[in-house]
């Protein structure tokens, strides 16, 4: 028979002294632990097999490659933690470059006006994705697959309609180009090497996302919304706003990368970007995001992007056929998912 304490005001329970776990334990229980190990392995692998990979200049190229995946991947990781997918992110990047360029050249709003209208459009598409998801109660995989296909069609069709070509015209002669290029696509010199400003933005976005996720109320809500939406709603978390906000964040990240690409190359191919959405998702998953939501990290998505950046460039430096890259992405994804699941099981068991 169990006993019930009714007289005492405080139940006698031995009290643990809250202790700080060992550093390695704390790292091993983070979602990005697997990606960190993977990044080190891949780095060592190419360092050994591809001699040009050892130079600092090669490393900056790797980082740039990683940044072009990592900028949207940071936002996609947050979205996945919030329990949703976005398959439209790859073509949304191209859409934002196209929109910026076409608005600037055909509407006569100038480059700045084009960039601002493109931003509004990108945010609106994110909001539309979120709104459709909430209204239809469909899985975000379906909703964003639909917007992906629609955007892909619109990108090419409208570009052809407006320019009579599959690419936009060169904008580098327009007034204000240099200023916007400085913002979005300039190079800065560090230690004698030129590095793209995109790398800096990528790291800043990653740091901000990490801050929001782990240190703010909204971050707590993102984890909760993805982990158990009904519970989050029951304790007063604005689930709908969080989800729509996350889709708009992905829209923003796509816009930003789109502007970078536009000002780096001056012109955009309307068919570009297809397939990249899977790279963003893969980077997030390699970085520890669960497909089912509620778990993951922004740093992990950056490590995932870094692994893919190293792989893209490493394959070239090792003088292999670039097609090996796709194989590598697939193999990495498989390995990472298995390792992450194993790590998470250990972590949640408290071992």
């Amino acid at each position: 028979m169990m006993t019930v304490t009714t007289e005492k005001t405080d139940v006698e329970v031995p009290r643990h002294v809250p202790q700080v776990a060992a550093l390695w334990r704390r790292i091993a229980t983070r979602p990005e632990a697997g990606a960190l190990g993977g990044a080190i392995l891949v780095y060592v692998f190419f360092f050994v097999t591809a001699p040009p990979f050892r130079h600092f200049a090669a490393f900056t190229t790797v980082l740039y490659q990683a940044a072009t995946i990592g900028i949207p991947a940071v936002a996609v990781a947050l979205l996945m933690i919030g329990g949703e997918f976005d398959l439209s992110a790859g073509v949304a990047v191209t859409m934002s470059s196209l929109a910026s360029s076409i608005f600037a050249t055909k509407l006569g709003v100038g480059l700045v006006g084009g960039a601002i209208l493109s931003l509004l459009l990108s945010l609106a598409i994110g909001a539309l994705n979120g709104w459709l998801l909430i209204r239809t109660k469909l899985h975000s995989f379906l909703v964003t697959l639909a917007t992906f296909l629609m955007l892909q069609g619109l990108n090419i069709a409208i570009t052809k309609l407006v320019t009579g070509n599959v690419a936009t015209s060169d904008i580098s002669a327009m007034p204000g180009f240099n200023q916007l290029q400085t913002i979005f696509a300039s190079n800065i010199v560090i230690g004698g090497a030129q590095i793209s400003i995109a790398i800096v933005y990528w790291l800043v976005f990653m740091a901000l996302a990490t801050w929001v996720l782990l240190r703010t109320k909204v971050g707590n809500w993102i984890f909760a919304v993805g982990g158990q939406g009904d519970s989050a709603r029951a304790v007063g978390v604005p689930v709908v706003q969080v989800k729509i906000g996350l889709f708009m964040l992905v829209g923003f990240s796509c816009w930003f990368l789109g502007q970078h690409l536009l000002y780096a190359y001056n012109t955009v191919q309307s068919g570009a970007g297809i397939g990249n959405e899977l790279l963003y998702i893969a980077a997030s998953v390699v970085g520890g995001c669960l497909l089912t939501g509620g778990y993951g990290s922004a740093v992990g998505s950056a490590l995932g992007a870094f692994i893919f950046g190293m792989t893209t460039e490493g394959v070239i430096y090792a003088d292999w056929d670039p097609d090996w890259f796709q194989f590598f992405v697939g193999a990495m994804l498989l390995l990472a998912t298995v390792v992450n699941t194993w790590i998470r099981l250990r972590a949640t068991k408290g071992k």
């Binding site: 169990m2 019930v4 139940v11 202790q19 801050w211 909760a224 519970s231 978390v237 509620g294």
Partner: protein, 277 residues
């Protein structure tokens, strides 16, 4: 310790119908500070309807629902919550992958700093969580551990402690021990008792386990087919008596006789079969 003072909530002749089917008729109930009121009953006896009225999920159709003497008719759980009436359902409203302290404060986070530096006050939230859980007899070495890794009873206690911390005066617990083993149930029952006695909270404990009810209850109400079948303070009741009412009163004793009769009959027919006496 008996309940003291005026009742926090009082139901008088509460009734509720869905379409033409009356789910609840003429229910009287008082909940006092520091008192555990147990509501027992079989499936379909009206327990869920009754708690959904008290918790503000559905408004009642007839009778009076008084909170602090004021008649009320809630149209949402939020209104009930604002008056300190909180329900903890079996789903618990916890997020399994989220750390314990983050779950505790989910939706009511404490922040510090201003503007873009506005951030979670982690130290304070962890302190409060540790203290609230410790007060109720749970001591966790690591508050960063996901709630999903706690035992069923511990999760239940986290959910209850959260409701208490955020100002519940009346706590409605819907079958908190239904899915738990003996040791885990003990933990939750001890906490129910703890919450009522030392924190002065009025507890409504819904269960269909008379043993659990009798351990902690001060007042017992047995519902049967939407009506109050038994309404008695602990002093006037024994566990056997409660079980008798709970099990359907006279109907069950008739059934017992019948089965006993059959058993004796079959024991006589086949002498080798030995049954418990």
């Amino acid at each position: 310790m008996a309940g003291s003072g005026a009742p926090i909530i009082q139901l008088r002749g509460i009734g509720k119908s869905y379409a033409n089917i009356s789910a609840l008729r003429g229910v009287d109930l008082s909940v006092r500070q520091g008192e555990v009121t147990c509501i027992l009953g079989d499936n379909g006896a009206g327990k869920s309807t009754l708690i959904s009225i008290i918790a503000g999920l559905h408004p009642h159709d007839s009778g009076d629902y008084l909170v602090d003497g004021q008649p009320r008719k809630f149209s949402s759980p939020r209104e009930a919550l604002n008056l300190g009436i909180a329900a903890v359902y079996q789903t618990l409203a916890l997020v399994p992958l989220l750390p314990v302290w983050r779950n505790f404060f989910l939706g009511s986070e404490i922040e510090l700093g201003r503007g873009p530096l506005r951030r979670l006050d982690r130290a304070k939230m962890q302190d409060v969580t540790r203290n609230e859980l410790h007060r109720m007899g749970i001591d966790l070495a690591n508050l960063e551990q996901p709630v999903g890794t706690l035992s069923g009873g511990q999760r239940q206690v986290v959910a209850i402690a959260r409701a208490v911390h955020f100002g519940a005066r009346v706590l409605i617990l819907d079958e908190p021990t239904a899915a738990l083993g003996v040791a885990q149930s003990g933990l939750v029952l001890r906490y129910i008792s703890q919450a009522a006695r030392s924190q002065g909270i009025g507890v409504i404990f819904i269960t269909h386990n008379p043993h659990h009810a009798f351990l902690v209850g001060d007042h017992f109400i047995v519902l049967a087919r939407g009506e109050v079948g038994l309404d008695m303070p602990r002093a006037d009741l024994t566990l056997d008596n409660l079980m008798f009412h709970m099990a359907g009163g006279k109907g069950l004793s008739a059934l017992e006789h019948e089965i006993q009769g059959e058993r004796t009959a079959s024991a006589q027919a086949a002498p080798k079969a030995v049954g418990p006496t």
